[in-house]
Amino acid sequence: MFDLERWQEIFDTIRKNKLRTFLTGLSVASGIFILVILLGFGQGMRNGIEQEFKQDASTSVWVWPGVTSKEYKGLNPGRRIQLVNENFDRSSAMFKNTIERGSSRIFVRGVSVNYGKEALIYGVQGVASDFQFIENASMLEGRFINYQDEVSAGKVAVIGNKIKTDVFNKVDSPIGEFVEISGIPFKIIGVYKEMEDREEERIYIPITTAQKAFNGGNRINNMSFTLPPVENFDEAVAQAINFKDDMREYLQQIHTVAPDDTGAMEVWSAMEEAKRYYGLTNNIKLFFWFVGICTIIAGVVGVSNIMMIVVKERTREIGIRKALGAKPWSIIAMILHESIFVTAISGFTGLIFSMALLELVGPNIEVDYVLNPSVNFKVAFSTVLVLILAGTLAGFVPAWRAAKVQVIESLRDE
């Protein structure tokens, strides 16, 4: 390795075989380049999908009543189940050790929404203050509905960012403006942002106001909760499933629903979905590893082929060197030394170029399901090492064979 004479001999050889060196280097560099780009996009897709799934709080659990489909305790099927305030209050109290936040919700239907002379077609929903965290909505301006608003049944509204850009584009800020819901003026106190436009087309008002002002009585349409975060993913899933089952059992009892009539009382846990999606991203990750490994194998085969051709091409030279007194090991060492040197230089060149490209272009990519493609430097680095090692091994066999070949035979190799 530190034999200066051999380095000189190798540089001589490289300098005088520019094309061969260039082609070997090019194929190694492009192999690494493609692999890194591929791995980068694999990561980008993972990031993108993760982003798509980040809409609601990951530990959220949603309760939707439906219509019974089974006869139970003398009650006919086809009964519409209606949740009421009491259900929410009681279940919140019952499960207060497992619940982090909770909010009931009511959809205000059959109302007209006006802003000045404009009629708006956005849905109005009555929610509690915790709903912001359950929906994972972030506040752009002002604040969300708070507990005070709930208690005092304040006539305040929080709008989505999409409504702001669509309707309130003539004023500096929608805060302080009034929208009329069925003729009742509501003061806008905040603008929230969601991942998707569709979820920004809502006007939230305090649930107490919604019930009192729009003939809601004590009815609610659904309930949602978040559970406290758990470090371990599997534990979190188990916790969510436990809570889900307990909640359903309780509500089924209260509303006299058959225990196996899941359609009448649907409880949906984001965690459970997340498990499915984690499985999906794991599969995607697996797929990209598979593709990556295939690419590495292709790279290894490519490098091996090149090494074999290079050695084949040099059979005569090897014969000459042997006739002049080169020891077999000195020939093997010379070939490997050169090949490791060329593969290493070109491998790292490919690595640097591809990482630079990902670094420059990556953050600017705006395609669905692809976000900030990037690659773990360690992974890329070890890939280069694997290729160098493979090239060495692949070069070793023909080099060894060439060193063993009878000189006279190799010299006759015209």
Binding site: E5, K16, N17, R316, I320, K322, G325, K327, A403
Partner: protein, 233 residues
């Protein structure tokens, strides 16, 4: 210098065994210029391979400069080749991407001679074969005769005990052949031991002794009156 006793060599060809050398006895003194003649298949190349330690014999003794050559490892053989032998080939076998000078310097590289000294020495031998002005040229830029002279310079550079020439004029026209033979004769005049394998009568007669090989045995071994190549040049 070279002593061979009852040398046998056979090659396996599938299930058959081809007996190529059938008991060669042969002695070469220092300073001799020996032509080994024979038609193709007579075993002369095999003999040269064994003499050059490029192949091992099945049985028999081979002593080179009082060193018994037997059961050599590849590494040992390479060492001996480098120290004892210089090769000259029919097809020159220069490394095509190295200049004439670098080709001549190559055996010295394997003798671990430092770079500078290597080049000085190589230049000296190139000068001896009259190619000093061509030192920086690649083999592809040289004529056949020049290439063979570079090859001779390379064989000489390691200062070997014995020069082995395998059909050194085989690829050259007769005028160039005589030039090369003239060079070989002059080197021999300086006291070097040289073995020339050839099938050309006139080339053989420019040596001092002719050994005739036929079907793996020596059929004739005679000293001759040397024809100087100089007169034809």
């Amino acid at each position: 210098m070279i002593e061979i006793k009852d040398l046998h060599k056979s090659y396996k060809m599938g299930s058959n065994s081809l007996h190529v050398l059938k008991g060669i006895n042969f002695k070469v003194e220092e300073g001799e210029l020996v032509a080994i003649m024979g038609s193709s298949g007579s075993g002369k190349s095999t003999l040269l391979n064994i003499l050059g330690m490029l192949d091992g014999a099945d049985s028999g003794e081979y002593t080179l400069d009082n060193v018994p050559i037997k059961n050599l490892s590849e590494t040992k053989a390479a060492q001996y080749r480098n120290k004892f032998l210089g090769f000259i080939f029919q097809s020159f076998n220069l490394i095509n991407y190295k200049s004439a000078l670098e080709n001549v310097a190559l055996p010295l590289y394997y003798q671990k001679v430092p770079r500078k000294e290597r080049q000085e020495k190589a230049m000296k031998y190139l000068d001896r074969v009259g190619l000093k002005p061509w030192a920086a040229h690649l083999p592809s830029e040289l004529s056949g005769g020049q290439k063979q002279r570079v090859a001779i310079a390379r064989a000489m550079a390691a200062e070997p005990k014995v020069l082995l020439a395998d059909e050194p004029t085989g690829a050259l026209d007769s005028k160039t052949s005589y030039e090369v033979m003239d060079l070989i004769q002059k080197i021999n005049d300086d006291g070097n031991t040289i073995l020339v394998v050839t099938h050309e009568e006139d080339i053989a007669h420019m040596c001092k002794r002719i050994v005739h090989l036929k079907d793996g045995v020596i059929v004739e071994d005679k000293k001759i009156e040397q024809v100087r190549a100089e007169q034809y040049v």
